[in-house]
Symmetry: C2
Subunit: 197 residues, 2 copies
DNA sequence: GCATAAACTTGACAGTGTAAAGTCTAACTT
DNA sequence: AAGTTAGACTTTACACTGTCAAGTTTATGC
């Protein structure tokens, strides 16, 4: 019916519908609200239908994480768009990381919390997101040193900050991003930029 | 029977036994293995007994997190013991943070992943652990600035690194701590020490 | 047109959290 | 000392979960 690819038999493309339903449930009710049976019901199929497309619940989570990485990459890319100065690009991408986490906390936990790195070694969508981070880190790599050094530092910093902020450990609610403690890691981010000096 | 406090009626002190069983289950089978009914069975009581001591599963997790923070604090304290130079203390505590995460991944996820900060605002055990981090950060606070700045930076850095390392995102298995990428965040940790200069 | 394979349904089972009611034990009251 | 009361625990039950084993329908291939 639609202009989309409708090749399979009954439903159309149930696989995509289930992933979409799963993401919606994740955003509505959090990680506990993500259920195989609820995804099936929302897609209009019986409760056992997902088994023909995913390897159980963990398989669905891997598929959701794959799609989640695309959304994640969008946040990182659009945050850096139109910004030229390397240090400003680094700041912007990190801010995009945080914004994604605050906007899609359920997706974030599925992306990094489902052992996806172990279950899906060839994770192109994840690599794509990582390469965005890598590209904004590249200008700050000290000459002749391992590029991973900077990437791991920046990634750890913004990842930890996002998760701690999200879990309320910093004692302030998520809403105020602008004046929040995010500005306080900018200083360290700037230091990352001087590591090669 | 034992020298422990046995004041309550039937079991002795079921509350502690349930928390202990929960921690054991967590270490054996991970977060998915932590179940009210399994905790009850391991403590030798019926499956509905925990309801009289905790507010459901989330209540048990809060209790486990409270005990987990004590264990966590032990790692941080014993890591800093006998080390005098401020920068070495900072390094050692961060290494203790990582070691705890690698040794007790289930506890780590319960501590920071059960919304404990929201459910238990007066978290003394958590504050105690935070104060250890705070004390090793203190020597590096720039004059006249908000102490939180350094703490948030260091905490974000080591927290993010631990979680990413644990989930295999860095592409190397957890076992080798010594020569792993941990040494690569030491450089940034050292930069934290020069922020005031 | 028919065999075959895939998509999906139906039914069942073990395991989960949780609530309501009942039983027992210890402590408290008079 | 006997009876009352409150708490600890059990039993029973229910809704919900993931998962398996069969069926049933539908589209594809020959």
């Amino acid at each position: 019916m639609t202009a989309e690819t409708k090749t399979t038999h009954h439903h159309g493309n149930l696989k995509e519908a289930l992933v979409r339903a799963g993401i919606d449930l994740l955003e509505e009710d959090g990680l506990d609200g993500l259920t195989l049976r609820k995804c099936a019901a929302r897609a209009g199929v019986s409760h056992a239908a997902p088994a023909h497309h995913f390897d159980g619940l963990s398989g669905l989570k891997v598929a959701i994480a794959t799609e989640g990485f695309r959304i994640f990459s969008n946040y990182l890319e659009s945050a850096a768009k139109g910004i030229d100065a390397p240090i400003d690009r680094l700041r912007a991408v990190c801010r995009g990381y945080l914004t994604f986490g605050l906007t899609h906390p359920g997706l974030l936990s599925v992306i990094f919390g489902s052992g996806l790195a172990a279950q899906k070694p060839d994770n192109r969508e994840g690599d794509y997101a990582y390469n965005i981070l890598r590209s904004v880190c590249a200008p700050f790599i000290p000459e002749g040193q391992n590029p991973q050094i900077i990437e791991i530092q920046v990634w750890s910093l913004i990842h930890g900050f996002t998760l701690l902020y999200l879990s309320g450990e910093f004692g302030c609610p998520p809403p105020p991003i602008e004046d929040g403690p995010f500005d306080q890691i900018i200083a360290l981010l700037d230091r990352v930029g001087t590591l090669g000096a």
